[in-house]
Amino acid sequence: MGQMDTLQKSSTSATKKKMRITGSEAVILSLLEEGVDTIFGYPGGAIMPIYDSLYHYQDKINHLLVRHEQGAAHAAQGYARVTGDVGVCFATSGPGATNLMTGIADAQIDSTPIVCITGQVPAHLLGTDAFQESDVLGISMPVTKWNFQITNPDEIPGAVARAFYIARTGRPGPVLLDITKNAQFGELDFEYTPCEKIRSYHPYPPVNTTDIKDAARVINSAEKPYILVGHGVLISGAEKEVLELSEKANIPVASTLLGLSAFPPDHPNYVGYLGMHGNYAPNVLTNECDVLIAVGMRFDDRVTGDINQYAVKAKVIHIEIDPSEIDKIIKTEVGINADAKQALERLNPKIEKADHKAWIEEFRKLEKIEYDKVVKRDIYPEGEQIKMGEVVRMLSEISNGEAIVVTDVGQHQMVASRYYKFRKPNHIVTSGGLGTMGFALPAAMGSQIGKRDEKVIAIAGDGGFQMTLQELGTIAQYNIPVKIVVLNNNFLGMVRQWQQLFFEKRYSFTEMTNPDFIKIVDGYGIPSKRVSERKDLQSAMQEMYDHDGPYFLEVTVEMEENVFPMVPSGDSVSNIRLE
């Protein structure tokens, strides 16, 4: 939906006037033409002309100075994920550009539209090992949807137009433009035309009528159909269409990690969250369904477990915009290579009403087992120490499941995904494919800038928080009102859990001696509180939630808590362990 708004925005604002300006000013004007109003960045030698031009446009563009370029990339990702628009970040050449790469790789694997602009040494120094020169094009090639080096100012408007078009269309992704310093200083006759077509790039494959017929036939004859929703549903804005399909034929729906918030969690057809630490029923019953309808997801190994023991009885229908994902992991009966919304709009009218009550009941039975063995103990624990699950449950209750939740990576991420009830689409921002620790704080910052009127909660562990905690500086400088919850167990918890379960408790370098986080946060002037006892938790959390401005809450949680259920790595989803 966001992508369509942007498309329209850009196509109506095409300027026809020509002006003689510098390349660096052309960069800024081109961004304005694309509707950019926010940039996350960090200046340096090779990008100084662009920053100098930006200085004159501060009334039109809000630039946030991050504390590390990785933070700029993650912030742009957060911004993109909650708004559906393209996130933009700036960095200088060499180390500035290489520091962006983690965020770019994360955006690539999680289909997030960002445009990264990096400065580069002057063209005549390319390849000479000049100061702060690195082969940014070569380095970023495997992790970008498209990249391009600009050595001539005349190339700027066309390249920026192409960059935005590629980043936001089809399966979105990161684009990098590397601009040499001479191209920034040089002049051009500026004229901007948005990109609307590239002959070698077909982002929206037309829906094939035969595929739709085949899929409808398979679904209409199914006894135990099962829908899996992924990130693609959110990207294409197909939430309503998935709901319609599910309700029409009474089909249970499960979600991948990045698909969370695409389907209402309180709906009677919603059966939970898939994957290694997902819910019991949706994992186990994957091997009972006879038709699997996968929408906008890519059968990640964390979802499938052992693919030879996955969906063993099912005919698979895969609706996916990226043709290279179809039959990549799971052999399909019907592959529908199209935008999820377009495909479902064509498919739904052909679906017959059906009743699969008994089948959905099977999920409910297993759900009860999971609740008794795992969930209850996680969210209403009786032991002395605070558990991650109860923190997330309280957050979900306090915010009514309507906050934007940005997680880091590890145990707390799985717990947040399991127990937060995401009631609004695009309200989970998490690093799924790449599993990037340090993601939460900068991504939350970007999410908050993208959605200023919403509550944004960053949840991180003590390990991941320390990977990017310098962004507290950015949060303080611009008074970005994110709420930061650190669940501190003084361990790299997920690795420790694996060491306990699969490496006979050899805790090899997972225990952490942490600093006094409250003192650190205090140094940035951000209000904070530490909670170690259950009786203080609810009120502290409410205080944080109601606080006007950024707030940091550290919760001391049980040190050696494990996240269950768990599908052991490489095992079948049927062998999911409850304890």
């Binding site: 002959r199 077909h202 494959p205 037309p206 294409s236 030879n308 996955y310 990549k328 709009e345």
Partner: protein, 198 residues
């Protein structure tokens, strides 16, 4: 559900495949294409990049030995790169192909006998250059043919040997120009506000 990494007989059969790719003629694309192989640790046996019959369009011919499954996935991932116009995979019997080999041998091996001359004739090779010290022999053919000539010349002393990558042409009647026209005409570039293709 059958294992996607195996073929229908349940075995992983490796074969030689020829991949033909049409791209925009732009710098950096060769790297973009080869990265797809590197990621999967696939070894490219031969690669040739040249102009196609259409101006501004390059044709890549890549030969490698792998399974059908693997090669199909690789081709899909190549195809999705922005400046790639098309990518096609062929088995041996679906293409006409050729390679060229050059053999630099000492001039003296031709003197005082007819053996080398006979070999050149029998193998349908030709003399490309004659210099005082060396002679360059040229032979076009499939790898087994150019290798056979190398083996025969080896005992006389080969100073240098080089074989080109494969160039191939498919047996289908499709014309590249038509293929590109179809691409140009294709209207699946954007969604309008109704979410339908315009």
């Amino acid at each position: 559900m059958t294992d996607i990494y195996q073929d229908s007989t349940g075995q992983m059969i490796e074969k030689q495949y020829t991949i033909s790719i049409l791209t925009e003629d732009k710098p950096g694309l060769l790297n973009t294409v080869t990265i797809v192989f590197t990621r999967r640790k696939l070894n490219i046996e031969m690669i040739n990049v040249s102009a196609s019959e259409v101006e501004g369009v390059s044709r890549y011919t890549i030969v490698l030995t792998t399974t059908k499954n693997q090669v199909e996935k690789v081709v899909k991932q190549i195809r999705k790169h922005v400046d790639v116009l098309g990518a096609f995979v062929y088995e041996e019997d679906e293409i006409h192909y050729q390679e060229i080999a050059l053999y630099k041998v000492p001039t003296e091996i031709f003197i005082g006998g007819v053996e080398v001359e006979k070999i050149v004739r029998a193998n349908n090779a030709r003399i490309l250059v004659i210099e005082k010290d060396y002679i360059v022999i040229e032979k076009t053919g499939h790898k087994d043919e150019t290798s056979a000539l190398f083996d025969k010349l080896k005992k006389y002393g080969v100073l240098e040997f080089v074989r080109s990558g494969r160039v191939s042409i498919s047996k289908s009647k499709r014309k590249t120009e038509h293929f590109l026209e179809e691409l140009e005409k294709s209207t699946t570039h954007s969604l309008n506000n109704n979410g339908t293709v315009n």
